[in-house]
Subunit: 316 residues, 2 copies
């Protein structure tokens, strides 16, 4: 459980380690969107990543960093979202067992997807307390190693590789952006910017309706996210101590956006770029649009977190 | 009006001519879709082309092939769809006037888009006769040159460049597919396969509810498309004499698909590949899926025609 802090060398090693397993996703631009707002956006398309989200990077790195002893008993986590699928697939690809605790009100589609990757799904009541209690029981029963969705340096180092690739592909970015929920992607993005593109400023986007990271930055302490209510359902969680420490050091600013701004940005990307991004990914796009006067003529890289959307519940 | 037949050299010249103006679009694959059906699909993503559709290739080639005399008076066409936008933008990028006859029941969004590219929109009654009469009047008044949406060898040569790029990027394709409406894309695709990948078989997809090309191939004569009724609204027109001649020579087979099969294929691509394809583009995907037993283990290239979808009218 003593993961090393993600130094430059550790992120470089994570990138080499996961390269055979992850897609090197493309970076896309839209001249019409750029013309509308007067900046240059470069979207790092992790919606095209395996399982449809960046989460597969961190999960793969965490699984590959297990000791031989840990490998014997597999991995465990609780998640109702992308991390569940990411860890299940990463485990399967490494011939490990995976135990995923999921709230009993998770969608059947998501549970089936996790089971489809060969993981054992254990359902629990949809409360934080019961998620944690159930996970504790599973770990005691199985001896599996916990892979936390974000407050884990192996996870953070894995997520950092997305921004590292973006920086390699697009030179001289003025600003690098990511959404913030638990902070795994944002802290990794901030570290890669710090190490590999020190001239870039890191700015996060966060839903106004789930602005715990914004308030944590103001107050200097982690604050709870409850009761968050946003279409950006990947960003409901609050920061962990590891992600918060990195974010307060390396993130310049968090821009909060309304639900309407998130939906408009999501729709704009769908319509103009013909790619499906999930609401959480539209958050930093909306934040860039909101900041368009300050961001005029800037080269802005955005890590698009994923594209897992229920087509039956679109906000358009 | 005497455009030369698209020989190998003419298509190569078209590719060079339009290269500075068009996107070289990527080719995308999905390991999960391939695993589902037991074949290897390669999607040439013209949904990422300018104006969101392959039509910009043909329109650009046609505009660049005008004589100096023709350039003075601009170009004209009738279209309620992607060709209207494609010709308007191609004309603007070449500093020409464009006159687009559009049925008065066309969507305001589409008319505004065409006007946004600087074209003059002339409305007409929504009948084929009034479209043609109005276009005649416009051409007499302005001296503009007609650029037909598909039954024009410059257009066909331009559309052929999409399959040419696909063949350059993906070697040893067993099958090359495209949708068929008026036949501009399919005839161009078939010519590029013939010249640049003679080992590939060309198969078209067509909606069962608009199967005039299928029937034309059976009967050996062009048959009218009326009354077609399909979600694949880019495929409502019937073949022209130029496109039909090429198609009967170089297309092996037309596979027809139901509306349900089109919608299921569209949804599958959206969900698994995170890209937005229009119903017309889902038609050859549905045709491949329908033929999965015959197409087992084949390498199948599909020209994805576009991604222009009204997000308020999704079939999911």
């Amino acid at each position: 459980m003593q993961e090393p802090y993600p130094t430059k060398e550790i992120i470089e090693a994570a990138a080499r380690r996961i390269a055979p397993f992850v897609h090197r996703t493309p970076v896309m631009s839209s001249s019409s969107i750029n013309a509308m707002f007067g900046f240059n956006l470069f979207l790092k398309c992790e919606n095209f990543q395996k399982i449809g989200a960046f989460k597969y990077r961190g999960a793969t790195n965490a699984v590959l960093c297990l000791t031989d002893d840990q490998r014997k008993n597999g991995v465990a986590t609780h998640s109702s979202g992308n991390h569940a699928q990411a860890l299940a697939l990463a485990a399967r690809n490494n011939k490990l067992k995976a135990y995923i605790v999921m709230p009993e009100n998770s969608s059947v589609v998501k549970m089936d997807a996790v089971r489809g990757y060969g993981a054992e799904v254990i359902t629990c009541k949809p409360t934080q307390q019961d998620r944690e209690d159930t996970l504790d029981q599973v770990m005691k029963r199985t001896g599996a190693t916990l892979v936390h969705p974000y407050n884990n340096y192996h996870i953070i180092a894995g997520q950092a590789t997305a921004a590292k690739e973006l920086i390699e592909d697009i030179k001289a970015l003025d600003i690098i952006m990511a959404p913030v929920g638990g902070g795994g992607l944002l802290s990794g993005t901030a570290l890669s910017a710090h190490y590999f593109s020190p001239g870039s400023v890191v700015v996060a986007g966060e839903p106004k309706n789930a602005d715990d990271a914004y308030r944590a930055m103001q107050q200097g302490v982690i604050v709870p996210a409850n009761p968050p209510s946003t279409i950006a359902d990947g960003l409901l969680t609050s920061l962990g101590d590891k992600t918060f420490d990195i974010i307060r050091k390396h993130v310049s600013e968090i821009v909060t956006v309304t639900e309407e701004e998130i939906i408009a940005a999501m729709r704009l990307v769908w319509e103009r770029m013909k790619i499906i991004i999930e609401p959480s990914s539209a958050v930093p796009v909306a934040a860039a649009i909101k900041s368009k006067d300050r961001f005029a003529n800037k080269r802005i890289g955005i890590v698009i977190s994923g594209g897992n959307v229920d087509l039956k519940k679109l906000p358009f």
